[in-house]
Amino acid sequence: MGPFLETLFGGLMVGMLYSLIALGFVLIYKASGVFNFAQGAMVLFAALAMARFAEWIPKLTGLNNKFIDNTIAFMLAVLVMIVLAWLIQKLVLGKLVNQEGITLLMATLGITYFLEGSGQALFGNDIYKIDIGMPKDPVFIFEKTFEGGLLINKEDLYAAVIAAVLVALLALFFQKTATGRALRAVADDHQAAQSIGIPLDRIWVIVWSVAGIVALVAGVIWGSKLGVQFSLSLVALKALPVVILGGLTSIPGAIIGGLIIGVGEKLSEIYLGPHLGGGIEIWFAYVLALAFLLVRPQGLFGEKIIDRV
Protein backbone atom coordinates (compact mmCIF):
# COMPACT_ATOMS: atom_id res chain seq x y z
CA MET A 1 0.00 0.00 0.00
CA GLY A 2 2.76 2.44 0.98
CA PRO A 3 4.77 2.44 -2.28
CA PHE A 4 1.60 2.63 -4.35
CA LEU A 5 0.33 5.71 -2.53
CA GLU A 6 3.75 7.33 -2.66
CA THR A 7 3.87 6.89 -6.40
CA LEU A 8 0.33 8.17 -6.66
CA PHE A 9 1.17 11.32 -4.70
CA GLY A 10 4.35 11.87 -6.68
CA GLY A 11 2.31 11.57 -9.88
CA LEU A 12 -0.32 14.01 -8.65
CA MET A 13 2.30 16.64 -7.87
CA VAL A 14 4.00 16.34 -11.26
CA GLY A 15 0.57 16.28 -12.83
CA MET A 16 -0.34 19.55 -11.16
CA LEU A 17 2.56 21.20 -12.97
CA TYR A 18 1.56 19.67 -16.29
CA SER A 19 -1.90 21.07 -15.60
CA LEU A 20 -0.50 24.56 -15.09
CA ILE A 21 1.25 24.50 -18.43
CA ALA A 22 -1.74 22.97 -20.18
CA LEU A 23 -3.89 25.71 -18.63
CA GLY A 24 -1.87 28.29 -20.55
CA PHE A 25 -2.72 26.51 -23.81
CA VAL A 26 -6.40 26.26 -22.95
CA LEU A 27 -6.77 29.91 -21.89
CA ILE A 28 -5.44 31.23 -25.17
CA TYR A 29 -7.17 28.65 -27.32
CA LYS A 30 -10.54 29.36 -25.72
CA ALA A 31 -10.34 33.11 -26.05
CA SER A 32 -8.81 33.46 -29.48
CA GLY A 33 -8.89 30.08 -31.19
CA VAL A 34 -5.11 30.21 -31.44
CA PHE A 35 -3.15 27.10 -30.57
CA ASN A 36 -0.24 28.79 -28.85
CA PHE A 37 2.82 26.78 -29.62
CA ALA A 38 4.90 29.34 -27.72
CA GLN A 39 3.52 28.41 -24.29
CA GLY A 40 6.66 26.40 -23.46
CA ALA A 41 8.92 29.20 -24.59
CA MET A 42 6.88 31.57 -22.43
CA VAL A 43 7.54 29.33 -19.43
CA LEU A 44 11.27 29.45 -20.16
CA PHE A 45 11.27 33.19 -20.80
CA ALA A 46 9.32 33.95 -17.62
CA ALA A 47 11.47 31.66 -15.47
CA LEU A 48 14.67 33.16 -16.87
CA ALA A 49 13.40 36.65 -16.16
CA MET A 50 12.46 35.73 -12.60
CA ALA A 51 15.76 33.92 -11.93
CA ARG A 52 17.92 36.76 -13.18
CA PHE A 53 15.87 39.55 -11.58
CA ALA A 54 16.16 37.78 -8.24
CA GLU A 55 19.91 37.64 -8.81
CA TRP A 56 20.30 41.25 -9.98
CA ILE A 57 18.11 43.03 -7.46
CA PRO A 58 20.33 42.39 -4.38
CA LYS A 59 23.38 43.47 -6.41
CA LEU A 60 21.80 46.67 -7.64
CA THR A 61 19.97 47.76 -4.52
CA GLY A 62 21.91 46.10 -1.77
CA LEU A 63 18.69 44.70 -0.34
CA ASN A 64 19.52 41.32 1.03
CA ASN A 65 16.16 40.13 2.26
CA LYS A 66 15.35 37.06 0.22
CA PHE A 67 11.61 37.45 0.56
CA ILE A 68 11.58 41.08 -0.60
CA ASP A 69 14.00 40.34 -3.44
CA ASN A 70 11.90 37.46 -4.66
CA THR A 71 8.68 39.45 -4.41
CA ILE A 72 10.10 42.35 -6.41
CA ALA A 73 11.60 39.94 -8.95
CA PHE A 74 8.24 38.21 -9.32
CA MET A 75 6.41 41.53 -9.79
CA LEU A 76 8.92 42.58 -12.43
CA ALA A 77 8.58 39.24 -14.20
CA VAL A 78 4.77 39.67 -14.18
CA LEU A 79 5.26 43.09 -15.73
CA VAL A 80 7.56 41.61 -18.37
CA MET A 81 4.92 39.00 -19.28
CA ILE A 82 2.22 41.69 -19.57
CA VAL A 83 4.40 43.82 -21.83
CA LEU A 84 5.19 40.71 -23.85
CA ALA A 85 1.47 39.95 -24.22
CA TRP A 86 0.85 43.49 -25.40
CA LEU A 87 3.69 43.29 -27.92
CA ILE A 88 2.49 39.94 -29.28
CA GLN A 89 -1.00 41.35 -29.77
CA LYS A 90 0.22 44.62 -31.31
CA LEU A 91 2.95 43.25 -33.56
CA VAL A 92 1.79 39.76 -34.48
CA LEU A 93 -1.76 38.65 -33.73
CA GLY A 94 -3.40 42.03 -34.23
CA LYS A 95 -2.22 41.90 -37.84
CA LEU A 96 -3.57 38.40 -38.36
CA VAL A 97 -7.22 38.82 -37.34
CA ASN A 98 -9.53 36.47 -39.25
CA GLN A 99 -6.68 34.41 -40.68
CA GLU A 100 -6.71 30.63 -40.90
CA GLY A 101 -5.87 28.63 -37.76
CA ILE A 102 -2.77 27.21 -39.43
CA THR A 103 -1.44 30.72 -40.13
CA LEU A 104 -1.84 31.66 -36.49
CA LEU A 105 -0.19 28.41 -35.40
CA MET A 106 2.81 29.18 -37.60
CA ALA A 107 2.94 32.68 -36.15
CA THR A 108 3.13 31.26 -32.62
CA LEU A 109 5.86 28.91 -33.81
CA GLY A 110 7.76 32.03 -34.86
CA ILE A 111 7.12 33.57 -31.45
CA THR A 112 8.54 30.39 -29.88
CA TYR A 113 11.89 30.77 -31.60
CA PHE A 114 11.93 34.48 -30.94
CA LEU A 115 11.30 33.99 -27.22
CA GLU A 116 13.83 31.17 -26.87
CA GLY A 117 16.48 33.23 -28.64
CA SER A 118 15.78 36.60 -27.10
CA GLY A 119 15.23 35.10 -23.65
CA GLN A 120 18.69 33.59 -23.65
CA ALA A 121 20.22 36.69 -25.24
CA LEU A 122 18.71 38.97 -22.60
CA PHE A 123 19.05 36.79 -19.55
CA GLY A 124 21.91 34.46 -20.40
CA ASN A 125 22.02 30.79 -21.32
CA ASP A 126 23.48 29.15 -18.25
CA ILE A 127 21.61 27.08 -15.74
CA TYR A 128 20.16 29.41 -13.13
CA LYS A 129 18.54 28.59 -9.88
CA ILE A 130 15.40 30.09 -8.44
CA ASP A 131 15.42 29.96 -4.67
CA ILE A 132 12.07 30.99 -3.31
CA GLY A 133 12.82 29.31 0.00
CA MET A 134 10.81 26.16 -0.50
CA PRO A 135 11.82 23.51 2.02
CA LYS A 136 13.71 20.69 0.40
CA ASP A 137 13.43 18.12 3.16
CA PRO A 138 11.01 15.23 2.82
CA VAL A 139 8.41 14.50 5.47
CA PHE A 140 6.49 11.47 6.60
CA ILE A 141 2.72 11.77 6.61
CA PHE A 142 -0.07 9.35 7.57
CA GLU A 143 2.30 7.60 9.93
CA LYS A 144 -0.63 6.78 12.19
CA THR A 145 -2.82 5.42 9.41
CA PHE A 146 -0.55 2.58 8.39
CA GLU A 147 2.88 1.29 9.10
CA GLY A 148 5.82 3.32 7.85
CA GLY A 149 3.67 6.20 6.65
CA LEU A 150 4.28 7.99 3.36
CA LEU A 151 7.44 9.76 2.36
CA ILE A 152 6.47 13.01 0.66
CA ASN A 153 8.67 15.77 -0.67
CA LYS A 154 7.65 18.96 1.12
CA GLU A 155 8.59 21.01 -1.90
CA ASP A 156 6.19 19.07 -4.08
CA LEU A 157 3.45 19.58 -1.54
CA TYR A 158 3.97 23.36 -1.51
CA ALA A 159 4.10 23.46 -5.28
CA ALA A 160 0.86 21.56 -5.57
CA VAL A 161 -0.84 23.91 -3.13
CA ILE A 162 0.37 26.99 -5.05
CA ALA A 163 -0.84 25.49 -8.33
CA ALA A 164 -4.22 24.61 -6.83
CA VAL A 165 -4.68 28.12 -5.43
CA LEU A 166 -3.81 29.66 -8.78
CA VAL A 167 -6.29 27.46 -10.59
CA ALA A 168 -9.02 28.33 -8.08
CA LEU A 169 -8.31 32.06 -8.46
CA LEU A 170 -8.48 31.79 -12.24
CA ALA A 171 -11.77 29.92 -12.05
CA LEU A 172 -13.22 32.65 -9.80
CA PHE A 173 -11.92 35.38 -12.08
CA PHE A 174 -13.51 33.77 -15.13
CA GLN A 175 -16.82 32.98 -13.48
CA LYS A 176 -17.41 35.93 -11.18
CA THR A 177 -16.05 39.12 -12.71
CA ALA A 178 -17.33 41.23 -15.57
CA THR A 179 -13.99 40.98 -17.35
CA GLY A 180 -14.08 37.21 -16.96
CA ARG A 181 -17.54 37.22 -18.50
CA ALA A 182 -16.27 39.29 -21.41
CA LEU A 183 -13.43 36.80 -21.87
CA ARG A 184 -15.87 33.90 -22.00
CA ALA A 185 -18.03 35.86 -24.43
CA VAL A 186 -15.11 36.41 -26.79
CA ALA A 187 -14.25 32.72 -26.54
CA ASP A 188 -17.77 31.81 -27.68
CA ASP A 189 -18.28 34.24 -30.55
CA HIS A 190 -15.94 36.99 -31.72
CA GLN A 191 -18.41 38.82 -33.91
CA ALA A 192 -21.20 38.92 -31.36
CA ALA A 193 -18.75 40.06 -28.70
CA GLN A 194 -17.69 42.96 -30.88
CA SER A 195 -21.26 43.96 -31.61
CA ILE A 196 -21.96 44.49 -27.93
CA GLY A 197 -18.86 46.61 -27.60
CA ILE A 198 -16.30 44.21 -26.15
CA PRO A 199 -12.93 45.38 -27.50
CA LEU A 200 -11.19 42.29 -28.90
CA ASP A 201 -7.69 43.77 -28.79
CA ARG A 202 -7.86 44.47 -25.10
CA ILE A 203 -9.37 41.08 -24.29
CA TRP A 204 -6.58 39.30 -26.15
CA VAL A 205 -3.92 41.28 -24.32
CA ILE A 206 -5.57 40.26 -21.04
CA VAL A 207 -5.71 36.59 -22.03
CA TRP A 208 -2.09 36.50 -23.16
CA SER A 209 -1.09 38.28 -19.96
CA VAL A 210 -2.94 35.73 -17.84
CA ALA A 211 -1.36 32.89 -19.84
CA GLY A 212 2.01 34.60 -19.33
CA ILE A 213 1.49 34.79 -15.58
CA VAL A 214 0.44 31.14 -15.48
CA ALA A 215 3.61 30.34 -17.43
CA LEU A 216 5.61 32.35 -14.91
CA VAL A 217 4.20 30.43 -11.95
CA ALA A 218 4.83 27.11 -13.71
CA GLY A 219 8.34 28.24 -14.59
CA VAL A 220 9.12 29.33 -11.04
CA ILE A 221 7.93 26.04 -9.57
CA TRP A 222 9.80 23.87 -12.09
CA GLY A 223 12.80 26.17 -11.88
CA SER A 224 13.04 25.97 -8.11
CA LYS A 225 12.92 22.19 -8.39
CA LEU A 226 15.25 21.54 -11.28
CA GLY A 227 16.90 24.86 -12.12
CA VAL A 228 16.12 27.16 -15.03
CA GLN A 229 17.61 26.09 -18.32
CA PHE A 230 16.73 25.71 -21.95
CA SER A 231 15.12 22.29 -21.48
CA LEU A 232 12.33 24.03 -19.55
CA SER A 233 10.73 25.04 -22.83
CA LEU A 234 10.47 21.35 -23.71
CA VAL A 235 8.31 20.63 -20.66
CA ALA A 236 5.51 22.13 -22.68
CA LEU A 237 5.66 19.14 -24.99
CA LYS A 238 4.34 17.11 -22.07
CA ALA A 239 1.39 19.47 -21.91
CA LEU A 240 0.30 18.56 -25.44
CA PRO A 241 -0.96 15.10 -24.46
CA VAL A 242 -2.62 16.75 -21.48
CA VAL A 243 -4.72 19.07 -23.62
CA ILE A 244 -5.58 16.24 -25.98
CA LEU A 245 -6.73 14.18 -23.03
CA GLY A 246 -8.62 16.95 -21.28
CA GLY A 247 -9.93 18.79 -24.31
CA LEU A 248 -8.52 22.02 -25.72
CA THR A 249 -11.46 24.10 -24.62
CA SER A 250 -11.88 22.98 -21.04
CA ILE A 251 -10.18 24.42 -17.98
CA PRO A 252 -11.23 21.53 -15.70
CA GLY A 253 -10.07 19.25 -18.53
CA ALA A 254 -6.57 20.72 -18.41
CA ILE A 255 -6.39 20.15 -14.68
CA ILE A 256 -7.77 16.61 -14.65
CA GLY A 257 -5.85 15.70 -17.81
CA GLY A 258 -2.62 16.84 -16.17
CA LEU A 259 -3.30 14.79 -13.09
CA ILE A 260 -4.15 11.67 -15.10
CA ILE A 261 -0.97 11.95 -17.15
CA GLY A 262 1.17 12.66 -14.10
CA VAL A 263 -0.23 9.74 -12.13
CA GLY A 264 -0.36 7.48 -15.18
CA GLU A 265 3.26 7.88 -16.13
CA LYS A 266 4.54 7.36 -12.59
CA LEU A 267 2.38 4.30 -11.93
CA SER A 268 3.15 2.73 -15.29
CA GLU A 269 6.85 3.25 -14.71
CA ILE A 270 6.66 1.36 -11.44
CA TYR A 271 4.21 -1.38 -12.36
CA LEU A 272 4.67 -1.87 -16.10
CA GLY A 273 8.28 -0.75 -16.30
CA PRO A 274 9.90 -3.96 -15.18
CA HIS A 275 7.95 -5.94 -17.81
CA LEU A 276 8.50 -3.56 -20.71
CA GLY A 277 12.10 -2.65 -20.08
CA GLY A 278 11.63 0.69 -18.31
CA GLY A 279 11.68 4.26 -19.60
CA ILE A 280 7.93 4.25 -19.88
CA GLU A 281 7.64 7.67 -18.27
CA ILE A 282 9.04 9.22 -21.43
CA TRP A 283 6.46 7.95 -23.89
CA PHE A 284 3.50 6.93 -21.76
CA ALA A 285 1.72 10.32 -22.07
CA TYR A 286 1.87 10.30 -25.85
CA VAL A 287 0.54 6.78 -26.20
CA LEU A 288 -2.32 7.65 -23.87
CA ALA A 289 -3.05 10.75 -25.95
CA LEU A 290 -2.98 8.67 -29.13
CA ALA A 291 -5.44 6.20 -27.66
CA PHE A 292 -7.69 9.07 -26.69
CA LEU A 293 -7.54 10.56 -30.18
CA LEU A 294 -8.87 7.28 -31.55
CA VAL A 295 -11.70 6.93 -29.05
CA ARG A 296 -12.62 10.45 -27.99
CA PRO A 297 -10.97 13.04 -30.24
CA GLN A 298 -12.57 15.98 -28.44
CA GLY A 299 -10.95 14.93 -25.15
CA LEU A 300 -12.62 14.22 -21.84
CA PHE A 301 -14.30 17.59 -21.44
CA GLY A 302 -13.89 19.23 -24.83
CA GLU A 303 -16.81 20.40 -26.91
CA LYS A 304 -17.94 17.88 -29.44
CA ILE A 305 -17.99 19.49 -32.84
CA ILE A 306 -20.90 18.43 -34.95
CA ASP A 307 -20.88 19.61 -38.52
CA ARG A 308 -24.19 19.77 -40.29
CA VAL A 309 -23.96 18.55 -43.82
Binding site: A178, A185, Q194, S195, I196, G197
Partner: protein, 261 residues
Protein backbone atom coordinates in the same frame (compact mmCIF):
# COMPACT_ATOMS: atom_id res chain seq x y z
CA UNK B 1 -49.69 53.04 -33.31
CA UNK B 2 -51.19 56.28 -32.17
CA UNK B 3 -49.02 56.63 -29.09
CA UNK B 4 -45.80 56.54 -31.02
CA UNK B 5 -44.70 59.73 -32.68
CA UNK B 6 -41.84 59.59 -35.15
CA UNK B 7 -39.46 62.48 -34.45
CA UNK B 8 -36.36 63.92 -36.11
CA UNK B 9 -33.95 62.00 -38.26
CA UNK B 10 -31.69 59.95 -35.98
CA UNK B 11 -29.87 57.75 -38.49
CA UNK B 12 -28.96 59.15 -41.86
CA UNK B 13 -27.65 56.86 -44.59
CA UNK B 14 -26.27 58.77 -47.60
CA UNK B 15 -25.16 57.40 -50.96
CA UNK B 16 -23.73 54.16 -49.63
CA UNK B 17 -21.87 51.99 -52.12
CA UNK B 18 -20.25 48.73 -51.10
CA UNK B 19 -18.19 46.48 -53.35
CA UNK B 20 -16.57 43.11 -52.74
CA UNK B 21 -13.93 43.04 -55.43
CA UNK B 22 -15.92 43.39 -58.65
CA UNK B 23 -19.26 42.54 -57.07
CA UNK B 24 -21.45 45.50 -56.26
CA UNK B 25 -23.36 44.62 -53.13
CA UNK B 26 -24.88 48.07 -52.65
CA UNK B 27 -24.98 51.01 -55.00
CA UNK B 28 -25.88 54.51 -53.99
CA UNK B 29 -28.32 53.72 -51.20
CA UNK B 30 -29.84 56.68 -49.38
CA UNK B 31 -32.48 56.60 -46.68
CA UNK B 32 -33.09 57.96 -43.22
CA UNK B 33 -34.52 56.63 -39.98
CA UNK B 34 -36.56 58.86 -37.70
CA UNK B 35 -36.50 58.72 -33.95
CA UNK B 36 -38.87 56.18 -32.34
CA UNK B 37 -39.95 54.65 -35.62
CA UNK B 38 -39.77 51.05 -36.79
CA UNK B 39 -38.03 51.05 -40.14
CA UNK B 40 -37.94 47.88 -42.21
CA UNK B 41 -35.52 46.93 -44.95
CA UNK B 42 -36.99 44.31 -47.28
CA UNK B 43 -36.06 42.75 -50.58
CA UNK B 44 -35.64 39.40 -52.33
CA UNK B 45 -32.70 37.13 -51.45
CA UNK B 46 -29.36 38.70 -52.34
CA UNK B 47 -30.82 42.20 -52.50
CA UNK B 48 -28.19 43.52 -50.08
CA UNK B 49 -30.27 43.82 -46.91
CA UNK B 50 -27.76 42.17 -44.62
CA UNK B 51 -24.90 44.07 -46.27
CA UNK B 52 -26.75 47.30 -45.52
CA UNK B 53 -27.19 46.32 -41.88
CA UNK B 54 -23.56 45.27 -41.63
CA UNK B 55 -22.52 48.68 -42.96
CA UNK B 56 -24.55 50.44 -40.29
CA UNK B 57 -23.11 48.09 -37.67
CA UNK B 58 -19.51 48.66 -38.76
CA UNK B 59 -18.83 45.08 -39.83
CA UNK B 60 -18.33 46.31 -43.41
CA UNK B 61 -16.84 49.66 -44.30
CA UNK B 62 -18.54 51.00 -47.43
CA UNK B 63 -16.26 52.44 -50.15
CA UNK B 64 -18.51 55.44 -50.69
CA UNK B 65 -21.10 57.37 -48.77
CA UNK B 66 -21.63 58.22 -45.16
CA UNK B 67 -23.73 57.03 -42.25
CA UNK B 68 -24.44 59.37 -39.38
CA UNK B 69 -26.13 58.98 -36.03
CA UNK B 70 -27.54 62.23 -34.68
CA UNK B 71 -25.25 64.13 -37.00
CA UNK B 72 -22.11 62.19 -36.03
CA UNK B 73 -20.67 60.41 -39.03
CA UNK B 74 -19.41 56.88 -38.47
CA UNK B 75 -19.14 55.09 -41.79
CA UNK B 76 -15.48 54.27 -41.15
CA UNK B 77 -15.81 52.78 -37.68
CA UNK B 78 -15.51 49.17 -36.53
CA UNK B 79 -18.25 47.28 -34.69
CA UNK B 80 -16.86 48.03 -31.29
CA UNK B 81 -16.85 51.79 -31.91
CA UNK B 82 -20.33 51.67 -33.39
CA UNK B 83 -21.51 49.86 -30.27
CA UNK B 84 -20.05 52.67 -28.18
CA UNK B 85 -22.16 55.16 -30.15
CA UNK B 86 -25.31 53.38 -29.03
CA UNK B 87 -26.12 51.01 -31.86
CA UNK B 88 -26.99 47.43 -30.88
CA UNK B 89 -27.87 44.49 -33.09
CA UNK B 90 -29.17 40.95 -33.17
CA UNK B 91 -28.03 38.29 -35.58
CA UNK B 92 -29.78 36.31 -38.28
CA UNK B 93 -27.89 33.16 -37.41
CA UNK B 94 -27.84 33.27 -33.67
CA UNK B 95 -24.53 34.47 -32.32
CA UNK B 96 -25.10 33.91 -28.64
CA UNK B 97 -22.47 32.80 -26.16
CA UNK B 98 -23.69 29.22 -26.07
CA UNK B 99 -21.77 27.99 -23.07
CA UNK B 100 -23.01 30.81 -20.85
CA UNK B 101 -26.29 31.15 -18.97
CA UNK B 102 -29.09 33.45 -20.09
CA UNK B 103 -28.21 35.82 -17.27
CA UNK B 104 -24.52 35.97 -18.23
CA UNK B 105 -25.34 36.41 -21.90
CA UNK B 106 -27.50 39.42 -21.20
CA UNK B 107 -25.01 40.75 -18.64
CA UNK B 108 -22.35 40.88 -21.38
CA UNK B 109 -24.56 43.50 -23.00
CA UNK B 110 -23.80 45.75 -20.01
CA UNK B 111 -20.09 45.55 -20.73
CA UNK B 112 -19.80 49.07 -22.09
CA UNK B 113 -21.60 50.51 -19.09
CA UNK B 114 -19.16 48.96 -16.62
CA UNK B 115 -16.79 51.50 -15.21
CA UNK B 116 -14.73 49.56 -12.69
CA UNK B 117 -11.42 48.11 -13.80
CA UNK B 118 -10.21 44.54 -13.86
CA UNK B 119 -8.37 44.81 -10.51
CA UNK B 120 -11.37 46.15 -8.64
CA UNK B 121 -13.46 43.36 -10.14
CA UNK B 122 -10.91 40.73 -9.21
CA UNK B 123 -11.08 41.83 -5.59
CA UNK B 124 -14.80 42.57 -5.70
CA UNK B 125 -14.08 45.83 -4.00
CA UNK B 126 -16.95 48.17 -3.04
CA UNK B 127 -17.55 49.91 -6.33
CA UNK B 128 -17.29 46.73 -8.38
CA UNK B 129 -19.76 44.94 -6.13
CA UNK B 130 -22.27 47.82 -6.23
CA UNK B 131 -21.89 48.12 -9.99
CA UNK B 132 -22.51 44.42 -10.54
CA UNK B 133 -25.65 44.62 -8.43
CA UNK B 134 -26.98 47.65 -10.29
CA UNK B 135 -26.42 46.03 -13.68
CA UNK B 136 -27.93 42.83 -12.46
CA UNK B 137 -31.11 44.74 -11.60
CA UNK B 138 -31.38 46.11 -15.15
CA UNK B 139 -30.78 42.67 -16.60
CA UNK B 140 -33.43 41.08 -14.38
CA UNK B 141 -35.84 43.72 -15.70
CA UNK B 142 -35.06 42.69 -19.27
CA UNK B 143 -35.47 39.00 -18.41
CA UNK B 144 -38.91 39.75 -16.95
CA UNK B 145 -39.82 41.84 -19.95
CA UNK B 146 -38.94 39.02 -22.36
CA UNK B 147 -40.68 36.44 -20.17
CA UNK B 148 -37.72 34.10 -19.86
CA UNK B 149 -37.47 34.10 -16.05
CA UNK B 150 -37.59 30.33 -15.87
CA UNK B 151 -34.48 30.00 -18.03
CA UNK B 152 -32.34 32.50 -16.12
CA UNK B 153 -29.58 30.01 -15.26
CA UNK B 154 -29.90 27.71 -18.28
CA UNK B 155 -27.01 27.62 -20.75
CA UNK B 156 -28.48 29.17 -23.90
CA UNK B 157 -27.20 26.33 -26.07
CA UNK B 158 -29.80 24.10 -24.41
CA UNK B 159 -32.80 26.38 -25.00
CA UNK B 160 -35.36 26.12 -27.79
CA UNK B 161 -34.59 28.19 -30.84
CA UNK B 162 -37.39 30.71 -30.42
CA UNK B 163 -36.27 31.51 -26.89
CA UNK B 164 -32.64 31.86 -27.97
CA UNK B 165 -33.82 34.58 -30.34
CA UNK B 166 -35.31 36.37 -27.33
CA UNK B 167 -32.02 36.14 -25.46
CA UNK B 168 -30.29 37.65 -28.49
CA UNK B 169 -32.79 40.53 -28.33
CA UNK B 170 -32.28 40.80 -24.57
CA UNK B 171 -28.52 41.11 -24.92
CA UNK B 172 -28.96 43.94 -27.42
CA UNK B 173 -31.51 45.66 -25.14
CA UNK B 174 -29.10 45.48 -22.21
CA UNK B 175 -26.93 47.99 -24.07
CA UNK B 176 -29.80 50.49 -23.81
CA UNK B 177 -29.23 51.33 -27.46
CA UNK B 178 -30.44 54.42 -29.28
CA UNK B 179 -30.83 52.38 -32.44
CA UNK B 180 -31.55 48.67 -32.47
CA UNK B 181 -30.74 46.67 -35.61
CA UNK B 182 -32.64 43.40 -35.99
CA UNK B 183 -31.39 40.98 -38.64
CA UNK B 184 -34.34 38.72 -39.50
CA UNK B 185 -35.65 38.49 -35.94
CA UNK B 186 -38.27 35.97 -37.01
CA UNK B 187 -36.26 33.73 -39.32
CA UNK B 188 -37.10 30.08 -38.80
CA UNK B 189 -39.92 30.68 -36.32
CA UNK B 190 -43.40 29.22 -36.26
CA UNK B 191 -46.51 31.42 -36.31
CA UNK B 192 -46.86 31.57 -32.56
CA UNK B 193 -43.20 32.46 -32.01
CA UNK B 194 -43.50 35.13 -34.68
CA UNK B 195 -46.45 36.68 -32.89
CA UNK B 196 -44.53 36.73 -29.62
CA UNK B 197 -41.52 38.32 -31.25
CA UNK B 198 -43.66 40.95 -33.02
CA UNK B 199 -45.19 41.83 -29.69
CA UNK B 200 -41.78 42.20 -28.06
CA UNK B 201 -40.52 44.40 -30.88
CA UNK B 202 -43.57 46.66 -30.63
CA UNK B 203 -43.25 46.80 -26.85
CA UNK B 204 -39.56 47.71 -26.98
CA UNK B 205 -40.39 50.47 -29.41
CA UNK B 206 -43.33 51.64 -27.34
CA UNK B 207 -41.99 51.38 -23.78
CA UNK B 208 -38.34 52.29 -24.26
CA UNK B 209 -38.81 54.52 -27.28
CA UNK B 210 -36.01 52.64 -29.05
CA UNK B 211 -35.61 53.29 -32.75
CA UNK B 212 -35.66 50.00 -34.64
CA UNK B 213 -34.27 49.04 -38.02
CA UNK B 214 -35.22 45.52 -39.03
CA UNK B 215 -34.73 43.15 -41.90
CA UNK B 216 -37.46 40.61 -42.40
CA UNK B 217 -38.62 38.14 -45.01
CA UNK B 218 -42.14 37.63 -43.74
CA UNK B 219 -44.07 40.32 -45.59
CA UNK B 220 -47.14 40.03 -43.38
CA UNK B 221 -45.11 40.81 -40.28
CA UNK B 222 -43.23 43.67 -41.91
CA UNK B 223 -46.38 45.37 -43.13
CA UNK B 224 -48.02 44.98 -39.74
CA UNK B 225 -45.35 46.37 -37.46
CA UNK B 226 -43.24 48.85 -39.43
CA UNK B 227 -43.86 52.55 -39.94
CA UNK B 228 -41.83 52.91 -43.10
CA UNK B 229 -40.22 50.42 -45.44
CA UNK B 230 -37.14 50.56 -47.70
CA UNK B 231 -37.10 48.05 -50.55
CA UNK B 232 -33.79 46.87 -52.03
CA UNK B 233 -33.25 44.78 -55.13
CA UNK B 234 -29.85 43.83 -56.58
CA UNK B 235 -28.18 46.38 -54.30
CA UNK B 236 -30.33 49.30 -55.47
CA UNK B 237 -33.17 51.04 -53.68
CA UNK B 238 -36.40 50.53 -55.59
CA UNK B 239 -38.95 51.73 -53.08
CA UNK B 240 -39.34 53.74 -49.90
CA UNK B 241 -42.43 54.72 -47.98
CA UNK B 242 -45.27 53.54 -45.80
CA UNK B 243 -46.26 49.88 -46.03
CA UNK B 244 -49.24 50.76 -48.21
CA UNK B 245 -47.21 52.88 -50.63
CA UNK B 246 -44.61 50.15 -50.95
CA UNK B 247 -47.24 47.46 -51.48
CA UNK B 248 -48.65 49.32 -54.46
CA UNK B 249 -45.32 50.32 -55.98
CA UNK B 250 -45.05 48.62 -59.42
CA UNK B 251 -41.25 48.24 -59.17
CA UNK B 252 -41.60 46.43 -55.88
CA UNK B 253 -44.31 44.15 -57.23
CA UNK B 254 -42.19 43.19 -60.22
CA UNK B 255 -39.12 42.61 -58.08
CA UNK B 256 -41.06 40.20 -55.91
CA UNK B 257 -43.30 38.57 -58.46
CA UNK B 258 -41.34 39.05 -61.66
CA UNK B 259 -42.56 41.00 -64.66
CA UNK B 260 -44.81 39.67 -67.38
CA UNK B 261 -42.87 39.15 -70.60
Amino acid sequence: MAARQAGDVILDVRNISLRFGGVKALSDITFDVREHEIRAIIGPNGAGKSSMLNCINGVYQPQEGSISLRGKTFSKMNSHQVAEMGVARTFQNLALFKGMSVLDNIMTGRNLKMKTNIFQQALRWGAAEREETAHRRVVEGIIDFLEIQAYRKTPVGKMPYGLQKRVDLGRALAMEPQVLLLDEPMAGMNVEEKQDMSRFILDVNDEFGTTIVLIEHDMGVVMDISDRVVVLDYGRKIGDGSPDEVRNNPDVISAYLGTVH
